[in-house]
Amino acid sequence: MSDPDRCHTPHWESPQAELGRLQLLVLASVLVVAALLLLLLGWLLDPRLLWLLLPLGMLGTAIAWYVRASLRRYRFALLDDGVLLRKGLCWHSEVFVPRVRIQHTDVSQGPLARRLQLATLVLHTAGVNQARLDIAGLRPQRARQLRDELLQRQSNTQAMPAERPA
């Protein structure tokens, strides 16, 4: 990225490749199901429905392109005081979750993610609107490692959420 960062240059990790594979797999499954459905309807009702396969294919290609492009920006960094996550293709966002506000974490795997041996680290914060942050496309081991690092360092600092010292 061309923008100069703060004094600590964060060490960015990007599970692009793995996450890309996962998201494309999900997309492919959805498209296959939709195509099959269309074939079925075309056979049962009206063969002209099969023409819809063309726009479906185009839509699928467009979505695939979009997914790949937006993943190029997807990256996260583990800082001393929290986690930074960057994502978004058109609408860029950079989310920061402070370590001291993390209440608990989950390492979860969907069925497709399990097949690709990928996991998602979910950070639950004390907040209300951005109460959870998902970091997807991680190897399960890396996810657990991140979780341990976050929780371990958290136990060293004052970890009482939102209680200001009087």
Binding site: H92, S93, P98, V128, Q130, P161, A162
Partner: protein, 507 residues
């Protein structure tokens, strides 16, 4: 999950009239169901069986209420309150005083003749609250005093009058608040939504509404521009009057006799005409303060200060935790109120930074484009309305300019503040300690102009878009985010952003 370890001495019991109130609460669940069944049912066998089944529930609920009331006991020790309830399914709760974030003493119209309160102990964000329904005045105040760490000591009921009031609102002020804050619109909107969600078979509301709209449109098409304009104006004025009336009524109900006191660090507020509600909170739990301002408030030299508190459950207005620090307050007293809540905050020392310089142009362009589209659409339908659209467009331009001029943000090292709005202006203040997450957002347009938005998250329930600092210069946004990050983990203060030069923050 604690064992049924209960102190030896017999605990305090609820007030004798508790049975009535407990029954009322049970009935509140049952009655809508009964009414719904009666209205929606035909006279076939099944609906009658259903009705009988519901009616059979009543003695069961009464029995449940009786058991609940007879078996509830509580003990107050030095460090905690112990609650026991239930016969078959005994439940013992130990609530340490530190976990109690808020103590609410509620008194509805029905509570008054008995002189009782429903005491609600709020424990943490969305955690299980303990309701003691109902306790006599002395017992209720004893619990309130105990949560301040005094243990089982009877509190003189008159003591609360000795506490100096930070703010006390007379009826006139409350009426003023109702007129100025104009929450009537919200009531009407909510009522409309509620009405349309009711599915009454007798009245087909949707068809009625459609008929009304078509009749109106047909009639309006035949008038000339002036009559149409006058009619619209008249309609708007009428709605405005109606909402104002509703707002004043609501203000009276909610804020009659409003009194804000300070007890140590805690803030105590009580108010209400029919439902007398008391709420308290410590400064650490106040996540957001918002100072409301506006044309009318300025003319009257008043402000309104609202607070968003962590752990406050979204419920009816009378059951929420402290949410209004001051529905209306003379502007010179605003400082004192803020000082009482957050002693480290000095509103006058805040150095306000302007928004990104390109903001005005962007907002003006967007408004112009919208009105252009509106003008095209309207002129396709009826050219007579075009002058109206032009007037609206002019207003839009003025608004764009005003919004940019009046907006701004400030950071004093410990608190982040920003203001927005034109006629209804709000200054938001969030202490770093309350921030639980921060996001930098930029759209493609933002990136072209090198600006960014900052989105904050706290523990207080708020709509996402409320805590959004818009149109910050991108370097300032990054700098602010960086300082917030350091500030959240580091408890010592940081130097404030001082520079107004483009792009280079001092210190």
């Amino acid at each position: 999950m604690s064992e049924a370890r209960v102190p030896e001495q017999p605990g305090h019991r609820l007030h004798p009239s508790s049975l009535a109130f407990e029954l009322l609460v049970q009935a509140r669940h049952l009655v809508p169901l009964l009414i719904g069944t009666l209205l929606a049912s035909g006279s076939d066998r099944y609906s009658r069986y259903f009705l009988f089944a519901l009616l059979a529930l009543i003695p069961l609920l009464a029995l449940h209420a009786l058991i609940q009331v007879l078996t509830t006991r509580y003990w107050i020790s030095d460090r905690e309150i112990v609650l026991r309830e239930g016969l078959l399914f005994k439940r013992v709760r130990h609530i340490p005083f530190e976990r109690i974030q808020n103590v609410l003493l509620q008194q509805s119209l029905l509570h008054r003749p008995f002189g009782v309160f429903t005491v609600r102990l709020e424990t943490g964000s969305g955690g299980a609250d303990a309701d003691l329904r109902v306790l006599g005045a002395e017992a209720a105040r004893r619990i309130e005093a105990a949560t301040r760490g005094h243990g089982d000591v009877p509190v003189d009921a008159a003591a609360s009058q000795d506490r100096p009031a930070l703010l006390q609102l007379g009826t006139g002020e409350v009426l003023l608040a109702g007129l100025v804050l104009d929450r009537g619109f919200l009531i009407v909107a909510a009522a409309l939504v509620g009405v349309f969600q009711l599915d009454l078979p007798m009245l087909d509301l949707e068809a009625m509404a459609r008929q009304l709209v078509t009749t109106l449109l047909r009639w309006a098409g035949g008038l000339n521009a002036w009559s149409l304009g006058l009619l619209l104006l008249g309609f708007l004025l009428l709605t405005k009057l109606l909402t104002l009336l509703l707002s004043v009524l609501q203000a009276l109900l909610l804020w009659h006799g409003f009194r804000l006191e300070q007890d140590g660090p805690r803030l105590l507020a009580q108010s209400g005409l029919l439902n007398r509600a008391r709420a308290s909170a410590t400064p650490a739990r106040v996540q957001i303060l918002s100072i409301h301002d506006g044309i009318w408030l300025r003319l009257l030299r008043r402000r309104a200060v609202a607070a968003s508190v962590s752990g406050a459950n979204a419920g009816t207005d009378s059951e929420r935790g402290l949410d209004w620090l001051a529905p209306i307050v003379p502007e010179q007293h605003t400082e004192a109120l803020l000082q009482a809540t957050w002693p480290g905050l000095d509103l006058r020392q805040l150095q306000w930074q302007p928004l990104h310089p390109a903001t005005h142009a962007r907002l003006a362009r967007r408004s112009l484009l919208l009105h252009l589209l509106l003008g095209v659409a309207v002129s396709l339908w009826s050219l007579k309305l075009l002058p109206l659209v032009i007037v609206l467009a002019a207003f839009g331009q003025i608004r764009a300019w005003a919004w940019t001029r009046l907006g701004g943000y400030a950071f004093d090292g410990k608190h982040l503040a920003w203001r927005s709005g034109i006629s209804q202006r709000t200054t938001w203040i969030v202490p770093i300690a309350a921030v639980s997450g921060c996001t930098q957002l930029s759209s493609p347009f933002d990136r072209r102009h090198r600006s960014a938005d900052l989105l904050l998250d706290t523990q207080a329930p708020q709509r996402t878009q409320t805590l959004r600092l818009r149109y910050l210069p991108v370097e300032q946004a990054r700098e602010l985010a960086r300082r917030l990050r350091h500030g959240i983990t580091d408890t010592t203060g940081l130097p404030a952003i001082q520079s107004t030069q483009a792009g280079t923050p001092a210190a």
